[in-house]
């Protein structure tokens, strides 16, 4: 019974394809999986937009939207109708094909990333040997479409916003990859299903999630920072915030194309949270050993929604970072710390089981964090302002 609830979607898929002849069964199984992904994740996206608006509202001492539907939860339907019926304004000097293909490229690349996430036990669309690498490859392809969007608008400010967005995404891509490499080193495989299975063990009631290890905690924090920057989320949303101030790379898009950019951004947030959950938070495994009776997909989606709430929380709390502060932070603090984290992970691996490795690894990481924090904070001395050209 518990097993059935856990595997209910897999059983549903098998039952549906049993109606087809044997030759068509494999493609039909994949098709059903694809339909599942295309229906579930945009639904979560719609829910995320409502949660974001209401959550930000509550943080800012106000209610969010509360007129459409019960407590405003039908708001995404109103937004969808609005974006579908708005006039699609394309600047006359814009580069036609590139302008059209940019949002398409973004959404396609982001949807591909969902194919390797293990949503539950036996619930991966494609179980690839190099699944993690595939995910990052798809993430890298989004940068090209961001650039295409900015350049094809024939707008200086769009182009500037796009260049900044791409520079930010490339810098934090390195951090993202390196913090995931630590996980790969310990697990010994790039396949996401193996990574989750390695975390699905329990000592006593506590799980073996990587976030509960010193290198895993540091890696998770670095991964979270890089994920926030990759998806242009606050406090790293300068490319997007410029939309509000001057322009951004999706300023010349209206109606459905803008909705596609919006969809692409939020889906990227969901997929990168999903990957973070898989790598550090144990994917679909339950937090305590006595909670394994609940279905695995329930745990995955709970952790995903928890990550989304933390994203929304950070957006409501932190002011935006300036472009140079952002880049300094990436190359001068986060990247060295990630390299140190790799070193500590290797130390962890080769020290063998026992209490000693916990102390040593935690001590190294904590010391490095405090020292680097002091260096980073001491550097900016506020003295009298000096001018380069005014003297």
């Amino acid at each position: 019974m518990i097993d059935k609830a856990d595997q209910i979607f897999v059983l549903l898929q098998h039952w549906l394809i049993s109606f087809l002849p044997l030759a068509l069964q494999q493609p039909a199984a994949v098709l059903i999986g694809v339909i599942g992904i295309i229906s579930v994740f945009p639904a979560i996206f719609a829910l995320t937009t409502v949660f974001e608006r209401k959550g930000l509202g509550r943080i800012q001492n106000r209610l969010g939207p509360n007129r459409v539907g019960p407590f405003g939860f039908m708001q995404p339907i109103a937004d969808a109708i609005k974006s579908l019926t708005k006039e699609d304004v394309v600047p006359s000097t814009a580069n036609g094909p590139v302008h059209f293909l940019a949002p398409v490229g973004l959404v396609v690349a982001v949807f591909m990333g969902f194919a390797v996430l293990p949503v539950g036990r036996n619930m991966v669309l494609v179980d690839m040997d190099a699944g993690l690498l595939f995910f990052f490859a798809m993430g890298a392809s989004t940068e090209v479409s961001v650039f295409m969007a900015g350049w094809s608008s024939r707008n200086k400010y769009s182009l500037l916003g796009a260049m900044r967005a791409v520079a930010q995404m490339i810098s934090y891509e390195v951090v993202l990859l390196l913090s995931s490499v630590a996980v790969v080193m310990i697990t010994g495989s790039l396949s996401l299903t193996k990574i989750v299975e390695a975390q699905n063990q329990y000592t006593g009631i506590f799980p073996h999630w990587y976030i509960f290890t010193p290198w895993g905690l540091a890696g998770f924090v670095m991964y979270a920072i890089a994920a926030t920057a990759e998806t242009n989320r606050s406090p790293f949303d300068l490319p997007e915030g410029e939309s509000e101030l001057v322009a951004g790379y999706h300023t010349e898009y209206s109606g459905f194309k803008f909705a596609l950019f919006f969809l692409g951004e939020y889906l990227a947030m969901l997929s990168i949270s999903g990957l973070g959950t898989t790598l550090f938070l144990g994917g679909w495994s339950a937090p305590f050993s006595f909670l394994t009776f609940m279905p695995s997909w329930f745990w995955f989606f709970s952790k995903l929604m928890l990550s989304i709430f933390v994203f929304i929380w950070m957006r409501g709390t932190l002011p935006r970072l300036r472009q140079d502060q952002l880049m300094n932070f990436a190359w001068k603090f986060v990247l060295p710390f990630t390299l140190l984290d790799l070193f500590v992970t290797a130390l962890w691996r080769f020290m063998g089981e026992g209490l000693l490795r916990w102390f040593v690894c935690s001590a190294i990481l904590l010391a490095a964090y405090i020292i680097m924090g002091r260096i980073a904070m001491v550097r900016k001395q506020f003295g009298p302002r000096s001018y380069r050209y005014a003297e």
Partner: protein, 213 residues
């Protein structure tokens, strides 16, 4: 330590988020057309004319002195003085406005007309839901729309209205006392004159009528 500020900030927003469900001071939003906040006592939006008795025409305090028309910075008040006079609250004969229009699309709510009126005739209202789709005169309020009773004034600004009433009553009492004194003096003079000429003295002075019925 690095990151401490971020954590403190996140704790504050979490308190805000959780508190917005339970306490009123963390959720200060009022869902507007269903709930409204009562305006403060010295709130001001657009002027209105005060009248004393039940009949707005008879009791209108405004005597068409046109001071507010001249002092109004954007010149949004239009007054026509009458040709005849009618008695005011102390009984003195005064002019009255046959036309008193305020263009509220121009009025900037500066309250200067209220400050300069010597007769406490124009005061500030707090009604702001005056939007209309009649663009050829819907925002030009005339005498009848502007005239509101003294009881309404008491409802809006109780302390102010009480002060104004006290002052007006004082004025009225002074005028009446003066009138009584002059009447007594005149009666005495007439009695003296009558005593001198031995002709019956007839009271020719009409008693001043009170404004408040």
């Amino acid at each position: 330590m690095l990151g401490e500020g971020i954590l403190k900030g996140m704790a504050e927003t979490a308190k805000n988020f959780a508190g917005s469900f339970v306490s009123k001071e963390r959720l200060t939003t009022v869902e507007y057309p269903e709930e409204r906040i009562a305006p403060a006592e010295n709130a001001r939006v657009f002027p209105f004319l005060v009248y004393d008795s039940e009949n707005w025409e008879k009791g209108l305090r405004c005597v068409a002195c046109q001071i507010c028309e001249k002092e109004c910075p954007p010149k949004c008040i239009y007054i026509d003085k009458s040709k005849d006079k009618k008695p005011d609250y102390v009984g003195k004969q005064q002019f009255y406005p046959t036309r008193f229009d305020i263009d509220i699309s121009v009025c900037m709510s500066c309250q200067i007309c209220v400050e300069v009126c010597p007769f406490e005739a124009i005061k500030m209202d707090t009604q702001f839901e005056l939007a209309t789709d009649d663009r050829f005169g819907g925002l030009l309020l005339d005498r009848e729309q502007l005239a509101k009773s003294n009881e309404y004034y008491h409802e809006l600004h109780p302390t102010e209205a009480a002060e104004v009433d006290a002052r007006l009553a004082e004025e009225k009492a002074k005028v009446e006392a003066k009138a009584k004194a002059t009447e007594a003096a005149a009666a005495k003079a007439a009695a003296d004159a009558a005593a001198k000429t031995a002709a019956p003295a007839s009271p020719t002075q009409a008693k001043p009528e009170g404004g408040q019925d």
